[in-house]
Amino acid sequence: MLQNFSYQAPETLKDLYALLNKSNGKAAMLAGGTDLLVSMHNNWISPESLIDIKKIPDLKGVTFNPKTGLSIGATTVCIELINNKDVNKHYPLLVEAAHHVASPQVRSRATIAGNLCTASPCADMGCSLLALGASVELGSADGVRVIPLKDFFTGPKKTQIKKHEVLLRIIVPAEMAGAKFGMRKLKRIKGHDIAVVSVAMARTAKVMRVGVGSAAPTPVVTADLAASTTLEKAIAAAEKVICPIDDVRAGAEYRRFMVKEFVAQIYSELF
């Protein structure tokens, strides 16, 4: 049995916001639960209440609009993204990234938004969405605000979400549709494992970005580079944003080396 908590499943955003305001930071959002319930199982956290957001229609679904881009609702799970035709056609990097998330059992429950809100430095969706220049829409009773994903993460397991806010959707810009891309995830085994380092790159006619996971306190991304950036400059830009540490999975030096190696490998696929 898990620790005691109350469970609520609001059906509208209005009800959700009312619950959030009432709970004053003592509630946790439940979507996929693949991270939240593990943290509770291990007694790392003990929220007073769980607010299940899966019944709220406004938070569901993936939609693509050639003018405004891709919108990924907060309760969209990995499998949904992998099977979505528009995502496969316009943003295949996200399909590859979602495939890298854990195992089939987890992919059928875990949400893309949850992967971001957990804010693990190794979040598989983090480096890919950063490379695509995504932003997140946060909502509360006070209104909605959109912030670039690169400013969303503030530290390991820390984000800009305030206690009365919820992530509503992830927005991927239209100009990144059809971008050339590549991703690498270094793992200790071929199957289900978290990243030792991960690198995702996207390039359009105008811009190139390198997103990196497991090599800094949060997933990180280079500044917007010119589409014609040389390999040396792309590597230098990636090196500038990472600050890897030694831990149980790998040493900092090895991580730094592999980030550079992966940037070189992917770079050759972008032209």
Binding site: M1, L2, Q3, N4, F5, S6, Y7, A9, L30, G32, G33, T34, L37, V38, H41, N42, L50, D52, K54, I79, A102, S103, P104, Q105, V106, S108, R109, G191, H192
Partner: protein
């Protein structure tokens, strides 16, 4: 909270504690103890069940979240005392040693075969990437799934039951 769910085609209505996961609900409230608890944290896959057509770790689903769901567990495999084709293939190919991972393995490979009746070895490996087996080394499990999907070539010098 009162919940209604269908497990292996049978409808159940029960009062479920909010802090009970689906795994414990199946084992303790419905008496379906075929599904096992390994890590309790979504790593090992021993508790895998099929929920609305997709495999899930039942340790990471609250019972109350399964309200209205269709669940398949290992108990749904054998019919009238007869093992399913997949179970027979596991038995025949020595894909079971201690047996603890088997219910989860069967559910993951069941879901695979429902979606893809002729999976490649690579696809089988991907389907069981979230299921740990510490006995077999996986090879026999892969062969069992190939066998169940009619793709196993006969091995020379190995007498098959």
């Amino acid at each position: 909270m009162k919940i209604t769910l269908t497990v292996n085609g049978k409808k159940y209505q029960r009062d479920a504690s909010e802090n009970k996961n689906l795994l414990h609900f199946l084992r303790e409230d419905l008496g379906l103890t075929g599904t096992k608890e390994g890590c309790g944290a979504g790593e090992c896959g021993a508790c895998t069940v099929i929920m609305n057509g997709k495999t899930v770790n039942s340790c990471l689903v609250l019972a109350v979240e399964a309200d209205g769901a269709e669940i398949m567990t290992i108990e749904g495999e054998a019919k009238n005392g007869k093992l399913s084709k997949l179970q027979v293939a596991f038995k025949k190919n020595h894909a079971v040693q201690c047996g603890f991972c088997t219910p989860g393995m069967i559910m993951s490979t069941r879901a695979l075969l429902e979606a893809n009746p002729k999976p490649t070895v690579e696809q089988i490996k991907q389907a069981i990437e979230g299921n740990f087996c510490r006995c077999t080394g996986y090879q026999q499990i892969i062969e069992a799934v190939q066998d169940a999907s009619g793709q196993l070539k006969k091995k020379e010098g190995l007498k098959r039951a």
